[in-house]
Structure formats: structure tokens, C-alpha cells
Symmetry: D2
Subunit: 284 residues, 4 copies
């Protein structure tokens, strides 16, 4: 793997932005691999992703922040820098359905998902054998009745202990509290089994079947405190017909969920997503 | 074109149904071209579409009803018979956007849509030249403020006068009254520019843009008195991204609207649709 | 699971066929669950699939053949009967790529694929741990240089010993001999990683990349003695762009391969496929 | 419409490229609207598209070439500049099938295609009425037997006379000579009715039907002297089944052809395409 740095920038759109950034990188002899930008007219925002090879880069990355600060201030940038050598530490939350979990773990082992997975958290024992197969610690924290606050405290302690900076809800069937969501802004990715905003909330396949839709969908999105309302990262659909029972919908949907979730996740891991208001900009 | 008859049946599911129908047709030497059936478990309904060549058929179609009645009664059938020689008489309603209208007229002239189009009704003059080009009478009935009741009376008089038995709303931007809808049950087809049930009602492209969805859709459906709530016939989606403005969505959506509307319409014209509760069964 | 029988019929198209079959089933009180038929005009063939519940069926299935024979002879039918209680015994062939194998095994354990898997055969050790996890015997038979004849003899002995009646090539990177293919007519399913007939043969992703296509595909098909030329069961495509490297194509393609192979396989297991000349009829 | 300039660049990849271009534009106070770039690793090429608002631009566009030349030379650039005020002059070639022609003309009149259409050339009279409706001169030049050389001479005289710089083959059923193709490099766009490279050449729908594919496609591409072998701009597919006759394939294919051709064309008109070897880079 090439050792790279990725700079993500969001700021008010102004002339001279690209020149300032390009000059800064050229000064230190950066070999730019990818550069993408987007102007959001409604918000008058300039968004940019630039990735360069660190092999020839003449600036020590520890000094990057200080060196880039003058430009960042001049243009009022909201920015962050990501090194490919510094992997995300990702926790997977799962309940009883194992198809997304198994898919993520296999992709991870195949090298498709560049991250560490220090732990899996579940409210059930069911998926432990998959965690064991891939050698990942599996913690069961039952959730029910009145213990949500307590359960979340346990979960957050585990996350902190393992230095987690990204959470994937792989069909985790519990709603997280507003406090929990607020503690991980844009760092919790959920897969919802409908094409949002249709069928948000519970039992989307049943409601899709009842309504008689001809397509079912899945949506990968960041979790915010309003259920199924966070910025959408990716969506997919698959055709269904009157011949499909609810069980058929659930089965067809599993394929969608796997693909949409893993694609959403990969974009996050590759630092390809910027959130702009309620929307995502995907630099693919 | 082969001269055919199509029998559409809906009834409680019981043993012996297929045998009874097949024997009846065989008695009169029918050469069956297509036969499709579907069991709806939730409603315990049996639905069937059977189409046969009339060339060798030994029963005069004027006598069909009397001959079939005993079987229909025995199985409590809701049934209808359609002859390919008897074309639908279809009215098109349109406002200012002409893309669906132009598409339908061209398909009609190419022989893709087997129907007569005795008239086009609009609340604006804009599309008249297309009607003229294809030689179809074009009536303008302005709708606004308080004249909806009056306008609908004029529309219905025209429809009756022209023997219309199918209405297509080709991006007609007015909401029809409950009375109007009730007068044409399952005989009004609308194209809605979203993947229903998401973004029902007004300005779906604007709301889709605001929500940041990654797919936009279109839905062909039968019109009922509840807005955008009728049985769905067909749906399609197309991918969009953060780079797409509202105008881009509108433009991409036009392609979808044309395809989904014409496909919905073709299935209706070919007698391929049975409505079962709030859903459609499409015998394609 | 409902205990059902499925009758698959292929014969010259003639009047009275449906009536004869429906009457036969009605005589023994069959509760028909699904019935589909198709007329192939070019070949003048009638193809039918009918599935019924065995709960009330008044004919002992051991006597079915004798009872149905007169009808079969009268209409010159090529027919077979399949019982849901009699599962396919499926062997999986795999080389080093494990993504299709892992996907099939997980679907199998989830109950999505109704079959037994008595063994997995590979020319490499790599995938053994997955076989172990799911508790399926794993046999390694190296293939190379001049030992193909010998290797196939070993493979066929194993298949016979385990009573295998269906073989899935889950990215098995060896070409089977004509003799091997002939021994399992329409009982070997392969996934080819292109939209056939484009890019048949070796290295389709590389050639797709070189040609600059905007879509890549995958094809599930029956294996015949001509490479990548057997009847196509299912195909899928996914969008690619100039930004995609060969590695990106390979990764995107894996998702396609999994979906298309498992769908092809499920249709076979559910007795939904009839082969008609070089084509398949899929009764979905 | 905003008055913009678009700069398209292709050159060997080197450090400092983006900085040099960004600085040049910033010097003249360009308000950059869109900037996209791509590195082709195999060819070690850097490709860029940058579009800016001319409202505040301090450099007279007549002087642009001279001002930009030093940078272009330093980086060995193959470059061109396009002004939104300078529309393409596009000729449409058509035979008897009118669906692509009608679609293009309607999109053009709706403002979806920003170009002038000074003439339509056909080898048949059939489509004249559509040309008349949209007020575009229609020339019939019969092609057959031995007169191709002569016919092409007439065609080229007309194209020259009308200052044509883009030719669209809207299902024009004649093969252009190598000389003709060479005279309009990357300026002839064709729609081929298959997913190339499958079914290149004649009668693709018939061959697709015969092969029993489950998807049919359409391909928009630049025409080169080798038939159906030019750089692919866009592709689409649609699902078909055993129930579809050749006529059904042709009908379904028409929808695809219209969409794929118009999309290919729009990208060309918006200066979004760079050709790199045998492939296209689409800056969407």
C-alpha cells in the first residue's frame, strides 16, 4: 500500500482557494494522487479532498498542522488530515441477524476494509462463533426494559477502553440514546432496510409489502439523534413483484443491506465523505 | 396482429379452479397463448390471466358471457373478458410539461401503445402543437381558483362524448376531486415523480434534493381519492449525487417518468394488471 | 416448510395440454400453489412448472409415474417430478478465491439454499478453514501439468461416493474436460465474471478495463463442453468509471459474482429452470 | 445561462501541474465553478477539466491562447478551451427508425441539449416530417450499391457548408468509410444497440435473443474506422426474460438507445469527455 495523506476541507467558497492549497502542497513537493472538489451553491461552501503520496513529501507530518494553519485561517477552513498509516478503530454492533456482520468480517479479512476491529458488541450471544472465527473479542451486553442507560454506559466504557473512533450498526436492533449519538457525531454508520425517507422506523419490509411497492431499498447513513434521519451516504434498490412474500423481501433485502452498508463504510474508511448540512458529499 | 381474447379472473382460491377454466376453454378448442396465475395468501385470492387465439375458437364471443356464467358462479368469480379487437379509448390530461405527452404520442404512432386517443385535455394552450402534429383534438379547460367543479363537469362531458374508458395523467398538475376519481375506478393512471411512498404530494424533486437522497424515482399508479395513495403499477429509480442540482434531478427524472409511465400504461392496455386490495398483480 | 411436489414439463405445444394436466391433478385433489407456463414459438414448445401441496394429495408419490405416464405419452412430454423433501446433494468446487464459497456456505446455513453439501473439492488448501467452520468435508485434489485426467477421475469417484447430483463452480479456476461436462448435463453451474458473451475465456476484468467499458457483469450458466457457452441462467451488471483500476473492477465484481451465482443456484434448487435449446426458461 | 470557459488538458503527469494551472487562473481572477482531474497510471497521464465563470475574468479570451502557451509548453500539454457562448453545430444522421431522432429533437427544443442543429441528413424520406416540425433542413442522400463514395462526398459538402463540428448517428444504418471517420476524429457519436463488445456488428437484438442473454444493452461511442470499436462513452442495460420475443427486445431497446445516446451526447456538448488511448474519461 502507498503511504498517503488525505486532506479534507470545507469552507466558504472564495477565489484563490485551489491555488493556495495547490501551492502549499507543491512547496513541499507533494505528488498529488487524487484531488476532488465541489461547490455547494445553496450553502456557498467549497469542499475539497486531496490525497498525496508521502514518499517524496518534504514536510514532517507532525509539523503539518502548524504549517497549514495560516492558509486554514485565511480561508476560515474546517479541515482535517488523515494518514493512511493510521487506521480507524471500528466497533461493530450486532443483534441476532448475522448476515451483515459475516459480510463485513470477510471483507475485512480480504483487505477490502482498511481498519482495525478491536471488538464486537451485541445484545445477544448468537453471533459469537463468527467473532471467534475471525479472532475478534465479542462482548454481550443485554439491552431491555429499563437498563438502556446502564447498557450504554457499559458500551461506552468498552469503546473508550479500545480506542474506538468508528461504530457500525450491522443490523443492531436497538435505538441508541441521543446522548450516545451525540458522543460519536458522524462516527456511527447504520444500515436501514428501506430507501429512506420511505419506511423509516420499524418493520420496513412488512410495510413495503403491504403498500405493494415494486422496488425495495436499503440506506447507509450517519446516525443522529433523530431516528433514520441522519445524512444519507448510499442507497440501493432491488426489484420485487407481487410474487414476493415478506420472507422473499427480507431475503432479497439482505443482499442489498450487505452491499450498501459495506460501500458506505468503505467510503468512510477511505476519507471520501464530507457532510454538508444534512447531506453527504462523496468523493468517489 | 393476432386476434385474441383475454380473460381476467379474481376469486377465492379453491381446488379445481384451473381445471374448470382449462376444460371450458378446451371444449371450445381454444389455442391458449399465455396463461398466468397467482395465489395471494394473505387475501386467499386466486388471480388469473389467460389469453387465447380467437382463430379456431368455436364459441361466438357474444355468447361467451352466458356460456362462462355457470363456472363464474360456481367459483364466485370477479371476471372480465377483453378482446384485442376492441381498443381502449384513452384521454390524455396534460398541463405545461410536454415530455410525457410527446413520448406517449410517439409511442402510440409507432404502434407500441394499442389504443385510440380521441382527445387531449389540458388547462393550458402550451402543448397544442404536439396534439396538432399527431392529429388529435386538443381541448383547453382552464382550472383555477374556484372553478374546479365546473371544469371537471366540462371534462367529464367531453370524456363521455368521446367514449373514453381510460385516462392518463401525463404530468397533469391538478388534483382531481374524489367524485371524479370515483367515476373512473382503476381507469386513471398517474405518473408521480418520486418513489412512493417517499415524497408524496408536491415538489418531490425539491424535497429529494433537500434530503440528500442518492436515488430519485418515479411511480406509475392508479388514482384513488387519496392523493398518491392508489395501487402502484410500476416504479423506477435513477442514481443522483451531490453534484446534481434540482434542475439536474428534474432532467434526470424526465427520463424516468417517460419510461415508468409508458410501461404502466402498456400493461394496462394489454390487460396485464389485476388489482388485489391496495396492490397490483402484473402478469408480464 | 410445506411438503410439495413440482412437475416440470417440456413438450410440443398442443391444445388440451393444460386441461389434461389440471384434470389429472384435480382428480387426486391437488392444492396447486404455483403454476407457470411458457410457449416457445420458435421451437413450438410448451413448457410448464406446477407445484402443489402434498398434504391433501390423494396419490402416493411412488405411484405417480405410472399414473401420469398415459398423459405424458399422449403429449410426448419430456417431464420430471421433484419432491421438496428430496434435497439436492451439491458439491462445491473452489480454487483460491473464497468469496463465493463463503457466501454460499453462509446462505446455506441461513436456510436460503435448500440442499445438502456433502463435500467441497479444491485444487488448493486455502479454503479449508471455511469448510471446517461449517463442518463440511474438504478434499484437495491438485490439478496441473498433465494430471487433469487423473484428477478428474478422483473428483468423479468422490462425487459418486457422496451421491452428488449438482456441482457448483464457485470461481473454480480450472476448465473441466468435455467428458466431465457430459457426465453432468445441466447439473454443473458456473459463475463467469463478465456479461457473456462479452469477455468469455480468461481474464475478463483485465480485458473489460482495457476496452474501457462503463459496466462490468457476471453470468451464471450451465456448463457445457464449449467454454462459457452454456445456457445462461442469470446476469447482473454494475457501473464502473475511468476512476476504477483493475483492482476496483475485481472488488466490485465480487459483489456481483456472489449475487448472480446464488440467485442462479437458488432457481436450480427450487426447480425453476427449464432448458430449451441453448436458452433457459426461469419460472420465478 | 452563466457565461463560462472550460479548459480541457491532457499531459504527462508531473508535480506542480495543479498549482501552475490554479495560479494562472487566480492571476486573472477566475471564479472556478468546477474542477476535476484524473491520473491515468497506465499511461502516466494527467487529465483535467476546469470550468470558470467569465463574468469577473480579467483576461480577454482572444488573448487566452498566448497567455496560457508558456504553461502549456512547460508541461507538454495537449489542451483546448471551450466557451459556453460558442455552441456546437451538430448534424444528425438518420435512416428509417425515428425514435432517437424524435427524442433528440425534443430534448434539444427543451433546452436539454445546448447546440445548434443546422441540418439532418438521411438516406430515406421517412423522417422528414419530424425535421419539418422542428424547423430543421432535411436532406435525403440515398446510399446503396456502389454510390457510397459519391454519397459521402455529398454529405461532406453539406457538413462543410453548414459548418458542422459534431455528427450524431441516430440509428443511421450505414457504415461510414474510413476516410469519412478520419475526417471527424472524436466528432462522430454513434449509438450501438448492444452492450459492446458483445454483439458488435449487425442485428445485435437477434443475436442476443438467440444466445438467451438476460440483459440487453446499448452503447454510445465515438466512431473510428473499425466498426463498433471506438472509445465507449456510456452504456446501459435492461432486463429481459424468456418471455421476450425479438420484437420485445427491440422495443425495450429503444428506451435504452434514447437514454444512452442523449446522455453520451450531453457529456460531449458540455465538454466533459477526454479520450485517453481507447478509453474515455467522463468528468461528470
Amino acid at each position: 500500500m502507498t503511504n498517503t495523506a488525505t486532506l479534507l476541507i470545507s469552507c466558504p467558497d472564495r477565489k484563490g482557494l485551489v491555488a493556495a492549497i495547490a501551492n502549499f502542497l507543491y512547496t513541499y513537493d507533494a505528488n498529488i494522487l487524487h484531488a476532488d472538489q465541489h461547490q455547494d451553491e445553496a450553502e456557498n461552501l467549497f469542499l475539497m479532498r486531496v490525497e498525496w503520496d508521502l514518499a517524496d513529501f518534504k514536510l514532517d507530518m507532525n509539523a503539518f498542522s502548524a504549517a497549514f494553519q495560516p492558509i486554514a485561517e485565511r480561508f476560515c477552513m474546517d479541515w482535517r488530515i488523515k494518514l493512511s498509516s493510521r487506521k480507524f478503530r471500528m466497533a461493530i454492533f450486532v443483534s441476532r441477524y448475522d448476515h451483515c456482520l459475516v459480510d463485513l468480517l470477510h471483507r475485512w479479512q480480504s483487505g477490502e476494509l482498511q481498519c482495525d476491529i478491536p471488538l464486537i458488541i451485541s445484545n445477544h450471544e448468537d453471533c459469537r462463533r463468527h467473532a471467534d472465527f475471525y479472532g475478534i473479542p465479542y462482548y454481550v451486553i443485554p439491552v431491555g426494559g429499563n437498563n438502556k442507560r446502564e447498557a450504554e454506559a457499559q458500551q461506552r466504557a468498552l469503546l473508550e477502553e479500545h480506542g474506538v473512533d468508528l461504530i457500525v450498526l450491522a443490523r443492531y436492533m436497538q435505538v441508541l440514546s441521543a446522548e450516545f449519538c451525540a458522543a460519536y457525531p458522524r462516527r456511527i454508520i447504520n444500515i436501514h432496510h428501506s430507501f429512506l425517507p420511505a419506511f423509516d422506523g420499524a418493520k420496513p419490509y412488512h410495510r413495503a409489502h403491504e403498500r405493494g411497492v415494486k422496488l425495495i431499498g436499503a440506506t447507509g447513513h450517519y446516525v443522529t439523534e433523530v431516528l433514520d434521519d441522519g445524512p444519507i451516504i448510499e442507497q440501493g434498490v432491488i426489484r420485487v413483484s407481487h410474487r414476493d412474500t415478506i420472507d422473499d423481501l427480507i431475503q432479497k433485502g439482505r443482499d442489498l443491506e450487505r452491499m450498501v452498508l459495506s460501500r458506505s463504510l468503505r467510503w468512510h474508511l477511505d476519507h471520501r465523505i464530507l457532510v454538508c448540512g444534512k447531506k453527504t458529499v462523496i468523493f468517489d
